[in-house]
């Protein structure tokens, strides 16, 4: 099977807040900044939660009482680094076998200035794995197009 280039989304920006504030808001207050319109639950989302420890769950709560997993915590290192496993695949399902890393670094550049380096890695894994395995002609074409696209956009 053909290897697909590693792809990722990278963002880097300054936040006018201390490293501790930035980290705490990112983790403990994720519910307040996560766009509530985006979830894979069976009903409207009421809360997004990241449990603050390695192995902690990352999930959303919903109006019907259900919960939907987004992934889990791979690295929890206050106030420098948070690595989350994003396990939602290209079909918008949580796939326990899928791990794409969402890495967020918090770099102190002053008492109230923090540089945030964000990267969502391994996006090539988000496609439908079953289809990748089948490697039919159509999917081969998709991958070719995808690789062209990635080459254009990779930072």
């Amino acid at each position: 099977m053909e290897t697909i280039n590693l792809t990722s989304i990278k963002k880097e920006f300054l936040v006018e807040a201390s490293q501790q504030t930035a980290f705490e808001v990112f983790t403990q207050k994720i519910d307040l900044w996560w766009p509530h319109s985006h979830h894979i639950g069976s009903s409207d989302m009421t809360e997004m939660v990241v449990e603050p420890r390695i192995g902690g769950r990352w999930y959303s709560k919903h109006t019907d009482g259900s919960e939907a997993n987004t992934g889990y915590v791979l690295t929890y290192q206050p106030y420098d680094l948070l690595v989350l496993a994003w396990q939602i695949d290209g079909d918008f399902k949580c796939n326990p076998d899928l791990i794409t890393e969402v890495v967020t670094e918090f770099i102190s550049e002053g008492p109230t200035t923090t540089r945030v380096k964000f990267e969502h890695k391994d996006l090539h894994k988000l496609g439908n794995g079953k289809v990748v395995d089948s490697m039919d002609q159509g999917w081969g074409e998709i991958m070719d197009l995808y690789k062209q696209f990635v080459k254009q956009t990779i930072i």
Partner: protein
Amino acid sequence: MNSQLAFNALGDPTRRAIFEKLQYRPMAVVDIADGLPISRPAVSQHLKVLKEAKLINLRTVGNNNIYELNREGIIAMRSYLDKFWDDALANFKALAEKTEKEK
């Protein structure tokens, strides 16, 4: 290519099911509807939304309408994720700065 539209179109579980089916091969409406607990007109309506979001294409073969994935639409999903993180991280930045000010 409208990524937002593409992702919104996939916000519906039935449309996601249809989109998933079409990942295996192009299909006629009758085959798409097979196994789905909704009427043929409802399936057609969902197909229309997916088509408008440029996630699928319609091809006519003889008398049959065949639907297939729009490859560029799939790429749009990745673009969507990029946009999603932009929005989410802008929210985060604003909240972190507000929290800092209130300390």
